[in-house]
C-alpha cells in the first residue's frame, strides 16, 4: 500500500489534540480528528454492534465507521481489564465484514514486556517509523494531555460561575483549534502559556460555599461528554462546582492505580475489575473532602462498575453523602436524566440551606 496513511482514534473527550500531535509529529503519519460524536454516530455504531455489548463499544465503532467513510485508513483501539480488552478484535472483525479496508493497530495484541513486539506493532501504523521522532514527541504529548486535563478541571470548577456565559469554553476550544497546528514543543509551550493566562483572566463570581458534586464512573462514560449526556455541562449550568478525578493524567500518566487500591482498601479489598477501584477511591475522596454529592455514570451492563455501585452505597451511608446512579445505553431518554438531575440539585440545595 503506497497510499498516504491517515490514522484515527475514536473520539475521547478532548484528547484528539494530543493524539494528533503524537501521530503527526511522532509516528509520522497523517491524523484525522474524528468527527464530533452525534446521534448518527451512535446509531450506526449500535446498528452494527451486538445488542448487549456495553455502549462505549457502540460509540467507538460508530466513530470508526465515520472515520473510514471520511477517508481514514488506519484505526486503533486501546485495551483494558474488562470487555475493553476484546473491543479491538471485535471491532476489526465487524469492520472487515462490512467490507472496509484498513490497517488496525490493536494495543491488546502488544506484549509490552517485549520491545520487539512494541516496535512490530508500531510498524503497522507506519512501516518507516522513526523511533527517535516518537521518543521526541512523547514528552510533549504527555504534556499536552496534562494541560488539557488541567484546563478541563479548571473549567469544571468554575464554568458555573463565570460572569459571561461560555467564556471559558470558548477560550478552551480556541486553544484546541490552535493546538491542531503545532508541530514542535516550542510552539506548544508558547500556546499553553498564552491560553492558561487567558483562562485565568476570565471573570469568575463564585459564592463562598457552592454546591460541589463529584463524578465517578466507567472509564469511557465518565470521560466522554456525549456518552454521559453532557452531564458536567448540565451541572455547571445549575451553578455547581464539578469534580472529576478520572482522566488520562490520573489513570495512565501518573498511574494512581496502586494508590487508589490502597486508599479504598477499607471498602474494596480486592481488584474489582477495570477502573472500578478508582471509582471507589475517588468516591471516598469526594466523601472525605465533604463534597455535597456524588454521581456515578456507567454504561448499562458494565460489570466492574456494578461491583463498585454496591460499595458506593456503603460510602454513602458511612459519610452521609447522597449518590445518584446513572446507567446509560444507546436509547436513554434525555428527559429522564434531566428529571433526576434536577431532583438531585433540589435535594442538595435544600440540604445546604437547611
Amino acid at each position: 500500500m503506497n497510499k498516504e496513511i491517515i490514522a484515527c482514534f475514536p473520539q475521547w473527550g478532548s484528547y484528539s489534540c494530543a493524539f494528533r500531535y503524537l501521530f503527526e509529529n511522532g509516528f509520522g503519519v497523517k491524523y484525522m480528528t474524528p468527527p464530533p460524536i452525534t446521534k448518527h454516530t451512535l446509531e450506526i455504531g449500535s446498528k452494527n454492534s451486538p445488542d448487549f455489548v456495553c455502549v462505549p463499544f457502540k460509540y467507538c465503532l460508530g466513530c470508526h465507521i465515520e472515520a473510514l467513510q471520511n477517508g481514514a485508513n488506519c484505526l486503533m483501539q486501546i485495551y483494558g481489564s474488562c470487555r475493553l480488552n476484546y473491543y479491538g478484535e471485535l471491532e476489526e472483525k465487524i469492520l472487515r465484514d462490512m467490507g472496509y479496508e484498513f490497517k488496525f493497530f490493536n494495543m491488546a495484541e502488544i506484549n509490552f514486556r517485549s520491545p520487539k513486539s512494541i516496535i512490530n506493532n508500531l510498524k503497522i501504523i507506519n512501516p518507516n517509523i522513526s523511533l527517535i521522532k516518537v521518543a521526541t514527541a512523547i514528552p510533549t504529548t504527555i504534556d499536552i494531555i496534562k494541560t488539557i486535563d488541567k484546563i478541563e478541571d479548571y473549567i469544571r470548577k468554575n464554568a458555573g460561575f463565570q460572569v459571561k456565559e461560555n467564556e471559558l469554553e470558548n477560550i478552551f476550544s480556541e486553544f484546541k483549534q490552535k493546538l491542531d497546528h503545532t508541530t514542535n514543543r516550542k510552539q506548544y509551550k508558547k500556546l499553553k502559556k498564552e491560553y492558561l493566562k487567558k483562562l485565568k483572566s476570565v471573570q469568575i463570581d463564585k459564592p463562598k460555599n457552592p454546591i460541589r458534586v463529584g463524578l465517578v464512573g466507567d472509564y469511557y462514560t465518565v470521560q466522554e461528554p456525549f456518552s454521559n449526556y453532557f452531564m458536567e455541562k448540565e451541572l455547571e449550568k445549575m451553578g455547581i462546582e464539578v469534580y472529576r478525578e478520572m482522566n488520562l493524567t490520573n489513570s495512565i500518566i501518573k498511574s494512581k492505580y496502586k494508590k487508589s487500591r490502597k486508599y479504598g482498601k477499607k471498602y474494596a479489598k480486592f481488584n474489582i475489575g477495570a477502573t472500578a477501584n478508582y471509582t471507589v477511591a475517588e468516591a471516598l475522596k469526594y466523601a472525605k473532602n465533604s463534597l455535597d454529592g456524588i454521581i456515578q455514570v456507567k454504561s448499562f451492563g458494565c460489570t466492574p462498575e456494578i461491583n463498585a455501585q454496591t460499595i458506593l452505597q456503603n460510602i454513602s451511608s458511612d459519610y452521609k453523602i447522597p449518590i445518584l446512579h446513572f446507567s446509560f445505553d444507546s436509547q436513554t431518554s434525555e428527559t429522564g436524566i434531566k428529571t433526576r438531575l434536577e431532583a438531585f440539585y433540589d435535594m442538595l440545595s435544600a440540604k445546604k440551606r437547611g
Binding site: 447522597p322 445505553d329 436513554t332 431532583a343 433540589d346 435535594m347 435544600a350 440540604k351
Partner: protein, 316 residues
C-alpha cells in the same frame, strides 16, 4: 381568596389540585391522560372550574410537574415547573411532616424518596425498565379478566400467594400464564402479582436503602390494598396510604407555586384556547434534534429540543 393550582401530568393519568392559602385542598381531579396531555389538562381545568364555581377562589399561581410539565407549564403560564421527585417530596412532607420513607409507584415509573428531618437525603427512580409499575399491573389485570380497581380486594382473599418471577415483566407474564394453567387459583395469582411488584420494587429501586418508618406509600398503585399489604409483609412496618396519595405530586407542586411567591395571570379560559404542537427533525447537523414548537392560537410561543444554537427557533 387566593388559590394555587398544581397539575401533575403523568404518562397514564393527569392530576389537578387547587389549594387555598392555608394549604387546604379545595378542588381536585384525577383523570386519564390518554396520550394527549394538552387535551387531558383542558378536561381537567373544566372539572376544576366547576368544582370552584361557588367558592371565591382566585387562582394566582400555577405549578406543573410530571413528564409533560414543560409543555403544560407553557400552556398554563405556570410560575413553577418542577420535577416530580421534588414535587412528591414536598407534597408528602407537607401532609406528613414526620415521614422518613416514601414509596411511590405510578403508571410507568417508580421511585423511593428517603427523608431525614424533613429534607430529602436520598432518592432513586427506576431507570431502563418499567417492570413492576402500574401499567404492568393493569395489563395483567386485563389478562386475568378483572378490573384493576378490584385487584387489591381479590388479592386480600388469598391465603397462599403464588410465587411469580418478579425480575422482568416478560418473565413474570409467562410465569403467570404457566401458574394459571397448572391450576393455581385466581386469588393466589393476583396476590402473587402484588407480591412480585413489591419484590421487584424493593430489589430494584430500594436496593441498599433502609426503610425507616413512618413509611408513606403513594402513586396510583397505592390505591391497591393488595400491594399495600405486600409492602407491609415485606418491610415489617405499617405503610401509610393517604387518601390523597394519588394527588400528592399535584399537591406538592401547588405548594411550591405558593411558596415561590410568583403570581402570574391565570384564567380557566385556557381550556378554550387552541393549542397546537408540531415537531420536526432539525436538519442542520447529524444530531437531528427533535424540536418541538408550541403554538397558541397559531402563534408560536415556545420551542425546545435543540442541543445547540443552530437549532434555536426564533420566537417573534
Amino acid at each position: 381568596m387566593k388559590g394555587y393550582l398544581g397539575i401533575d401530568i403523568g404518562s397514564i393519568s393527569t392530576k389537578g389540585v387547587v389549594i387555598d392559602e392555608n394549604l387546604n385542598i379545595v378542588a381536585s381531579e384525577y383523570l386519564w391522560t390518554e396520550g394527549d396531555p394538552m387535551g387531558a389538562v383542558k378536561r381537567l381545568l373544566k372539572v376544576l372550574e366547576n368544582q370552584l364555581a361557588d367558592s371565591h377562589i382566585n387562582i394566582v399561581s400555577v405549578g406543573t410537574t410530571g413528564s409533560a410539565r414543560k409543555l403544560i407549564g407553557v400552556m398554563t403560564n405556570a410560575s413553577v415547573v418542577k420535577n416530580e421527585i421534588t414535587a412528591h417530596a414536598v407534597g408528602t412532607t407537607t401532609l406528613h411532616p414526620d415521614v422518613n420513607t416514601i414509596f411511590e409507584i405510578g403508571g410507568q415509573d417508580s421511585k423511593i424518596i428517603i427523608i431525614e428531618n424533613g429534607y430529602v437525603v436520598d432518592y432513586a427512580m427506576n431507570t431502563l425498565c418499567a417492570a413492576g409499575t402500574g401499567s404492568f399491573l393493569s395489563s395483567q389485570a386485563h389478562r386475568l379478566g378483572v378490573s384493576v380497581e378490584e385487584f387489591g380486594e381479590i388479592a386480600l382473599r388469598s391465603k397462599h400467594p403464588t410465587n411469580i418471577a418478579a425480575r422482568c415483566t416478560v418473565f413474570a407474564e409467562s410465569d403467570l400464564v404457566h401458574k394459571a394453567q397448572i391450576g393455581h387459583s385466581k386469588e393466589d395469582i393476583i396476590a402473587g402479582l402484588c407480591k412480585a411488584v413489591v419484590m421487584n420494587y424493593l430489589n430494584n429501586i430500594g436496593k441498599g436503602k433502609k426503610f425507616n418508618p413512618p413509611i408513606v406509600f403513594q402513586g396510583g398503585v397505592s390505591k391497591n390494598v393488595g400491594v399495600k399489604k405486600a409492602f407491609e409483609d415485606a418491610v415489617g412496618h405499617e405503610v401509610i396510604v393517604d387518601k390523597n396519595g394519588h394527588l400528592m405530586g399535584a399537591f406538592g407542586v401547588a405548594v411550591l407555586a405558593k411558596n415561590s411567591g410568583i403570581e402570574k395571570d391565570f384564567s380557566f379560559d385556557v381550556a378554550d384556547i387552541k393549542f397546537r404542537t408540531t415537531g420536526f427533525d432539525c436538519p442542520k447537523c447529524a444530531n437531528h434534534c427533535e424540536i418541538v414548537c408550541v403554538f397558541k392560537d397559531d402563534k408560536l410561543i415556545d420551542s425546545w429540543g435543540n442541543k445547540c444554537d443552530n437549532g434555536a427557533v426564533k420566537i417573534n
